[in-house]
């Protein structure tokens, strides 16, 4: 019997409004006395984005019917299995939403984040418009320059041409391990082999493994694959989605579709219930057939192939040796643009 008068969000926003108003009053008087001590409105806004919190409930429904091999329609499901919620600062919500909207060569990795993104936008706008601003917020994760695998999120509409726009940027963790030094090492090791293909391949391998682990953490995924129903379906969904994207990126190669090692319907398969092996499945996605060991058949390259192509194309030998300087794999850049509504 919850008697609710007021929602948490409205409550929070109200609190923020009141506090902000008082600050503005103080600021106005300060401004009159000391016009030199200005604080940018964008800082004020980014502070709001950082500190105000919200709880976002959302559904994973869009994954249903997204691919043929996972139908998400077991009888045992109730609708509630699709429901999720996340509590965090608005910045955290933006960051996590951004990371979910990851693409490989423009192909969306999962549809889990669709409704979440809308909900995050809603809470963001609610927080900012309360302050009297319009806002356009973008989140961007780009592990390295020219990456084909990247995540972006945009919230709100771009400012009109005549708006007086303030800009602030915020860097928050992406949840991807900071492996750029390992990448440098791998590159150097590959270079040491004397084989020209090795240096980029090895560097790309480290990145691919790290990124796959970010989206399919082996420990969690292992348990999910061993489980039943929705949680298992969802893990299988991500594997199959990534697999099919990778297959598409290689589709123009001579070898055609080389991705045939995933077979969740067979128990003994790495995606099967009793044969579940997330470590192996991850290695397969990251390094293709090589990830399955020397005896595996096929010529799949995995995410490593995509990344290797990127690196070769955009990052010079010198830049690879100091990869850490240009990499931003561990952070998301959130850009906040605000203007008076």
């Amino acid at each position: 019997m919850s008697q609710r008068g007021i929602s948490t969000v409205v409550d929070a926003t109200l609190a923020l409004l009141l506090i902000s108003a008082s600050i503005l009053v103080v600021a106005t008087s300060l401004a009159a006395d000391q016009p030199g001590m200005d604080l940018e409105a964008s800082d004020h806004v980014s502070e709001t984005v950082s500190i105000s919190t919200a709880n976002v409930s959302y559904s994973l429904r869009p994954v249903v019917d997204d691919i043929d091999d996972v139908d998400f329609e077991d009888d045992a499901y109730s609708n509630s299995v699709f429901q999720r919620q996340r509590y965090g600062s608005v910045a955290d919500l933006v960051a996590s939403s951004t990371m979910l909207n990851v693409t490989i060569e423009g192909r969306q990795l999962t549809r889990e984040g669709e409704i979440y993104a809308d909900a995050v936008e809603g809470s963001l706008m609610e927080a900012l418009t309360g302050l009297g601003y319009d806002a356009y917020v973008t989140g961007r994760w780009q592990p390295y320059d020219g990456a084909s695998i990247a995540a972006t999120g945009t919230y709100g509409s771009p400012p009109p041409g005549d708006a007086d726009v303030q800009l602030a940027t915020l860097r928050v963790p992406s949840g991807v391990q900071p492996v750029s030094e390992d990448v440098e090492d791998a590159y150097e090791d590959g270079y040491g082999t004397g084989r020209s293909d090795q240096k980029y391949e090895r560097a790309a391998g480290v990145l691919a493994e790290t990124i796959v682990e970010r989206y399919l953490p082996a420990g969690e995924t292992q348990v999910a694959l061993e489980g039943q129903w929705f949680r298992r379906d969802l893990a299988v969904y991500r594997y199959l989605r990534i697999e099919s994207i990778l297959a598409e990126t290689e589709a123009d190669s001579d070898w055609g579709d080389e991705y045939y090692h995933f077979d969740p319907a067979t128990d003994e398969n790495v995606l099967g219930r009793s044969g579940a092996n997330a470590t192996k499945a991850n290695a397969y996605l990251a390094r293709g057939t090589d990830g399955l060991g020397p005896s595996a058949a096929g010529e799949a390259d995995g995410l490593r192939g995509v990344i290797e192509d990127d690196l070769k194309e955009t990052i010079s030998h010198e830049e690879m040796k100091s990869f850490d300087e240009s990499s931003s794999i561990e952070e998301i850049v959130i850009t906040v643009r605000v203007w008076r509504a």
């Binding site: 500190i51 976002v56 045992a76 996340r86 509590y87 809308d118 007086d164 420990g219 009793s274």
Partner: protein, 1021 residues
Amino acid sequence: MTNERPSTVTIAESDRGRIPFALIGVVLLATSSIAVVSLQTRTDPRADTDVATAFDRIETTTHVTLREAATTGLRDAAAAPVTETADTALGNAIKGGSADDTFRNYVRLRIYLAAREKLARTDQAVGNGVTASASLPPVEGGADSIEAALDRVEMSAGYYDSDLETGVVAVTIENVTLTVESDAGRETAQRTFELTVPTTVFEMHEKTQEYERRLNVGFFEPGFDGDRLYYGFGRKFAVRQYPVSWAKTYFDRFGPKKWDRAFEPIHDDRSTEILANLAAFDVQQATFGTADPAVDRIRRERMTCFALSTGYKVYDAVSKNGTTTSDVSDVGDVSEAALENATDASSDDGRIQVNEDTLCRATRYMMGNSEGGLGDPPSIRKMTEGFIKDKAGNVGGAVEIEVNPFADASYYGIRYGDRAESLTDLNNRDDISVDWPPGETDPEGDDAWSDVKDNVDGSGEDSEDLLSGMELDPDTRFDEVIGHVYDVEVDVSEDVSRDGPRPWAPEPPGDNWTEVESERRYEVVDADDVEVTTERGPDTNIEGDRWSDLRNVAATIENELKHVRKWRRMEGNGQNVRVNTTTTTATRNVTFESDVDIDAKHSQRTQVDDLGTEHVYESGGEAGPEDVPNFERVPQRSLSKVFGVELSTEDELEAKLDDKIDTGSIVSEDRMGEAVTSRTDTFEPDVLEEAERETLETWIEDEVDDVRATVKDEIPPVEVGPTTFVDGEPILDGLRENISDMKSRLVYGDGPGGPYENPKAKVRAEATKVYLDNVFEWTSRFDDKATDTKNTAQDEVMAPLDVADGEIAEVVSFAQRVIAGDVDMAGDADFEGSPLYDDVKFTIDASPAYLESATVNRTELPAVRASGDGFTDLDDGVEHGPMVTKYDNVFLPRSGAPLVPWPGFWYATLSTWGLQIDGEYARFELRADVSDPSTSEPVRYIRDDREVAVELADGAMTAGSVTPIDFRSDTVVAVIVPSYTKAATGKPGIGDPWGKRYGCAGPYPETGPEPDEDSCNWITD
């Protein structure tokens, strides 16, 4: 709920979400020393480069990062909830006073590590070469470093700390270093951050701990949470197992003889396993307010399996000609078509041999196929009532105990107690034609009895103990009753007197006469006859225990007495002196009288009320055989004795006394006294001749036999519920009350308590009273023996089980209430979630959801791991033992112990089993739908057998272990059925047949990873 969320924020489902926002406000205020300038003064976007602003920026982003770190730390801790620490620097640092304390320390560590890691990735480039960063020192393997890290994190959690709501955690992280670098150099500052985040982790932890505790609660320790008495596994299991045990036992006991035992053994792995799992599901529901979603299907499948296999056993026993699916489906309430489809599907060649196992396997097919036309499985209650009870009669109903054996036993005791030592001796005496125990002509009943006799306490040597209390040693037998009534005591007193003075001879004339005193004497000159007068005392209406006049006899003699005195005198002088003598006499008539007072008392030692007796010292009255006298012989016999004469009538007394007494010698009162009475002491005259005594005894035997018939006829049996046999309270109070109620009427008659008609009537009253008291006494001896038996059984059953507080009576009484539908196990439980979340949905995911009494490997149960292994350590060779069900007939003879173990008094039979359920989940997971969106995986609290290492700055270090949910619960099953000797239908003996041992002969295997597979008791089908 099909609502796909609109692009707005959902409203929190709580009315208490304000504290955190107040906190936000506080933080905002605290950080609002920053001056704010309105937007209008700005013209174009540009980055700020001011160092102070950079500090503000990094402080703000650090706040974001630390909040996320707290969430991540909590989440990491839940996925690997360490409650047992390793002996490492890390383990020792987080070791707390309790598992909960350890867990909280561990959470703090996880938060610190997450905070440090995330801060390291959030350098902020503010612009113009100014960068800002936040950092915490790395945690290295040394104790100091770990302690310092833990010291920086303070945490109070809503579940434990009263000033916070459940689901809210306040975290303080101290001394975070903020650094700003610019061309001007490097500046640092230390800041302390306070955050409030929602979490379900502690509630999940507590609920899961509670689940494990409840699983570990045995039947006899229900009170771990006061009023939630029935929420422990022990009771939840009992509420399912007991009615099944009772129904099976009753079915085997009362099934027609031609049936074999359907349930041998009564408890088997499979059915115990099923019921134990159902109980565990119920404990889940009671603890979490929800159960594993797999439970629904499993419950249906297993219940159906249980119903079918139970039904199969019943029908298999009823008809050895083979069972058709149609028979079985009647039992299980499933459609025949569905069953046939299922059995077809489960057999390779399509031709199915129906047996218990195939039926169970078949149900999996039926359930696995959601289209199966299978209705709801029958409930246990329906099963026991529906087909077992129908055939077994009133399961757990009352046993009727009639007064008959007590009425007979006491009759035989009073009648034959001088000839037979015990009831069972009655058969051995040629002169006693009594068969005891009564009505036991069925050889199977005899067998059942001898089985018990041989096997109670494991040896026949104790049978004397068993029979103690059956001795025939009544306080009073019939002959003694007669002796007590026909018992007259006579008291005699004599008073002798003289009427008038005796004569006195004078002195002779003259002087100096001296009397020769030795010559003085009385002589009877003229002797008279004796005259006797007799006064009769009352003959009627005399109370027993009081002296009453029997006869007063006065004897008188009037003699003429002469008094003679001799005198002498010296006469002359000198040599002429001589002696002169003379005599004087006097004569007179004198009367002597002896008054002899003869009093009597009778039947002083009787137990009946002394109401007086009508005809006492006379014949008369209708009661009793005519040729047996009252006490009418007493007066004459008493006179004869007192006066020492043989009288044939009282009238002869005077003549006989006259003959006897030499009246010429009566010169004084003393002489008179000596002459009249022969004895004046108290004596008991013979009242009955031997033949009369025998006649009277025969009569009284018949009379009391009539009383026995009346008692049997009028006293209704008492209905005794099973609990009464073992609770130590008196069983036969009802009989005793009735005996007491009728006693007065049977002893004294319907009238208003007048005097007994004659001594024979009193004999009858006395015998009746003695008899009824003895019946009463027998019922009490029975009760005492029942208590002894109960105590013996209690000791033998409980002692080996380490459940010293356990009472058989509690077990039986609980079973009774369950069978009667009187046990309400309903309870509610719920998750609170967090005020900062919307309603949180929790999901239980147990591996296995159903704990089988069979080892499983990873192929069958993907969660199986070797002990200590992590999620990604995979080994197909490892086995896991989810459940071991231990059951053993506990010490009592396997065909049941008699309550009470006296032949003829064996009304009920007790059988007991000790059941122990050991279980261990390979993995028990609780999920909340609070997710990290990047993986969509909900927050997971996972308990399994896992070692946890934590990555520190200089390598991984073991923190401790996650412990699996591992439980053990003890229950005693006690079943009481009416004994075969009292209800000779079906089969004698209950429980598991004597001489056969079921269950495990060796040590039972342990549950959990890598159990001993060769051990017995794993189901291998």
